[in-house]
């Protein structure tokens, strides 16, 4: 499947507008914590749009973007975040545990290192059944602090499991650092364990598309696991645990209107994968400004509809709390 700037930008915008809507709804509905994926759109979209039926996906506390990137219904996702009966998990999972098995999502774990551990089980099952599918583990750099990540990398390499380890590295030394590894090179340990590794600029969808394409080809070819580090620039509103909406609603026209990008968050705006991608695609003629505005309008419209669906969805019956634990 060839890389489509239009489809990719559309998906990225949907991811962004989704997260902005979560911020709005969190205020309106007095929700607790969420971990937003603003700034991770290029990686999520370009990676997850390449997956096939039968591939399995394992994600983390920062899962919203992955769901939307893979094409999960945004109304059901918002409803889940609101704890509604119409949500992806009937309101039982919430922001941290969204899933959609029809699209390959498996249990979403908010335990740091959880997704990487479970993914080797998916890889084990896919290999056992020779389906040709790939298990994709999405996780932050912080997961590599946990022993379970090491054990998972080791067993995946040892058994040559079809797992793509996709690390979203948003750590910069200092305040925003989410991992504390003794090495600055995140690929050093997987490489030591004989896993083929690569790093990619996670803010560049085209580069991600290529890198993930190569990684998936490796894994599907029966060559064992692959570790891809995507280097991301951290959104200033993203703190270790909770977000703050310091950068305001994204204005896509800042992709070409430099005056709009000269506030205190100018550096962020230069790095914002959406503004950056829109800017580059316009510069190379793949898209026009009008295309971008139109795509953004579509995204906004879809998310508005999603909100309407979510807010109209009733809460589940309280007794549902006891149901569905055992078959």
């Amino acid at each position: 499947m060839a890389f489509s700037p239009r489809a990719t930008l559309a998906r990225m915008l949907l991811m962004r507008r989704f997260e902005e809507m979560v911020i709005t709804l969190a205020r309106v509905h007095k929700l607790g914590r969420q971990h937003l994926a603003i700034g991770n759109e290029a990686l999520g979209a370009a990676a997850l749009m390449q997956l096939a039926d039968g591939d399995l996906i394992y994600t983390t506390h920062r899962n919203h973007g992955h769901m939307i990137a893979r094409g999960v219904d945004s109304g059901k996702a918002l409803a889940e975040i609101l704890g509604r009966a119409g949500g992806l998990c009937g309101g039982k999972g919430g922001t941290w545990h969204m899933t959609d098995p029809a699209l390959g999502f498996q249990s979403t774990s908010a335990m740091v290192g959880g997704s990487i551990g479970l993914s080797v089980g998916g890889g084990f099952a896919l290999k056992h059944r020779k389906t040709g599918g790939v298990a994709v583990a999405l996780f932050g750099d912080g997961a590599l602090d946990e022993g379970i990540a090491y054990e998972a990398l080791n067993i995946a390499s040892l058994y040559a499991l079809p797992v793509l380890f996709l690390c979203e590295n948003n750590s910069k030394e200092g305040e925003a650092q989410t991992s504390r590894l003794a090495t600055k090179e995140l690929t050093a340990v997987p490489r030591a364990l004989k896993i083929v590794c690569a790093s990619v600029d996670g803010g560049n969808p085209k580069a991600v598309d290529r890198a993930v394409g190569a990684a998936l080809a490796h894994v599907r070819g029966g060559n064992g696991p692959y570790f891809l580090e995507a280097q991301l620039v951290r959104w200033p509103g993203s703190h270790q645990i909770v977000h703050e909406f310091t950068t305001g609603v994204t204005d896509v026209t800042a992709a070409w209107d430099k005056a709009k990008a000269s506030n205190e968050h100018a550096e962020w705006q230069r790095n914002d994968p959406i503004l950056r991608f829109a800017h580059d695609m316009i510069a190379c003629g793949a898209l026009t400004r009008e295309d971008v505005v139109a795509l953004d309008a579509d995204a906004n419209a879809m998310i508005a509809k999603a909100r309407t669906f979510a807010e109209a969805s009733p809460f589940p019956k309280p007794e549902a709390a006891l149901a569905g634990v055992f078959v």
């Binding site: 098995p101 551990g117 993914s119 054990e151």
Partner: protein, 326 residues
């Protein structure tokens, strides 16, 4: 009915499962199969029959648990043997936060049909790190079934049910049960969860015992019968689900309760059974409940020290005498 050892009965349950469902795999095969009393040719035949499905993984209990959880969600039916129960503590988060939550957290969309097996108990020289009886910790979880077989027939039937169950199931085997022999029905059968076994009928006192302690309770009951005290011995077999009706029915008949479990006394299976009866069959109780359990101390190595804290038939007899006198 053929006579089998507990260990061989367990292996037979697994062999039936491997044969009838290609999704069954055994991770941690060596310590489950080897030196367990199988005839060498039978053991070799098993390894030969399932070369890809009997696996000895790295000493990485955490990811082995994640692996079976992930594989179970993806449609397999894996069986993980940890060896000694304390080793599973290395995987406690993977058991409690991942496996146990799969079903509820996904709104029932996903299942984790997996079996987690461990050898537990005061075993003779296990000392501080190889003697735990952690059943109460698993009973205090949410989202796991908990099975404590106490006889060869139940070992086979309950294990078979555990593997067939669509829920994550913890099975705890007392190391000292492995050599116990007994009658086991022929062929492939399973024993339903949530149905207690009345191991001995009696009218004077109810003894609820689990795992190896069922044997001790039965020994105690024989000794008590010499004095004319007829104890009813109930083996719940599964703690989650628990057959509360069978326990309460027995206490309603006898009016007295002694619990026997090898775990640490505090917040134990015995505490739960006692609390349950004090809640649901209080009016039938004629005397204080008495619990037999290990005192809450790490197990010391030295044989007389170990023996001192190990629950056994003598302690059960003493407990029954105490409740009969009251």
């Amino acid at each position: 009915m053929p006579i089998k050892s507990f260990a061989v009965a367990m292996i037979d349950a697994l062999a039936h499962s491997l044969r009838s469902d290609p999704n069954v795999v055994l991770i941690g095969a060596h310590s489950f199969l080897s030196d367990r009393g199988l005839r060498p040719e039978d053991e070799r035949a098993l390894w030969d029959a399932f070369p890809d499905r009997l696996i000895d993984p790295p000493t990485s209990e955490g990811v082995c648990t994640s692996l079976v959880t992930g594989a179970a969600m993806a449609g397999m039916r894996p069986f993980l043997n940890y060896g000694t129960a304390t080793f599973a503590f290395e995987a406690f988060n993977q058991i409690m936060s991942e496996a146990a939550n799969v079903s509820l957290m996904s709104g029932g969309q996903l299942r984790a049909p997996m079996t987690l097996h461990m050898f537990a108990g005061i075993r003779g020289g296990g000392a501080g790190q190889h003697s735990s009886s952690p059943q109460a910790m698993y009973a205090n979880s949410a989202g796991l079934e908990l099975v404590l077989p106490a006889s060869p027939a139940d070992a086979q039937g309950l294990l078979r049910s555990a593997i067939k169950s669509d829920n994550p199931t913890v099975v705890i085997t007392h190391t000292r049960l492995l050599s116990m022999t007994g009658e086991v029905p022929d062929g492939d059968f399973s024993t339903p969860f949530g149905q207690a076994r009345i191991a001995r009928e009696g009218r004077d006192v109810t003894i609820v015992a689990t795992s190896l302690m069922v044997r001790e309770a039965l020994k105690a009951a024989e000794a008590l019968a010499q004095d004319g005290v007829e104890a009813e011995v109930i083996d719940p077999r599964t703690i989650i689900p628990l057959d509360t009706a069978a326990i309460c029915t027995s206490v309603r008949k006898t009016g007295r309760l002694v619990t026997v479990d090898e775990g640490n006394a505090l917040c134990s299976i015995g505490s739960e059974i006692a609390a349950l009866v004090a809640e649901q069959a209080f009016d039938a109780l004629k005397a204080p409940i008495v619990r037999v359990a290990r005192p809450p101390v790490p197990i010391a190595f030295s044989p007389p020290l170990e023996a001192y804290v190990t629950p056994n038939a003598d302690k059960v007899v003493a407990a029954v005498r105490k409740t009969m006198q009251a």
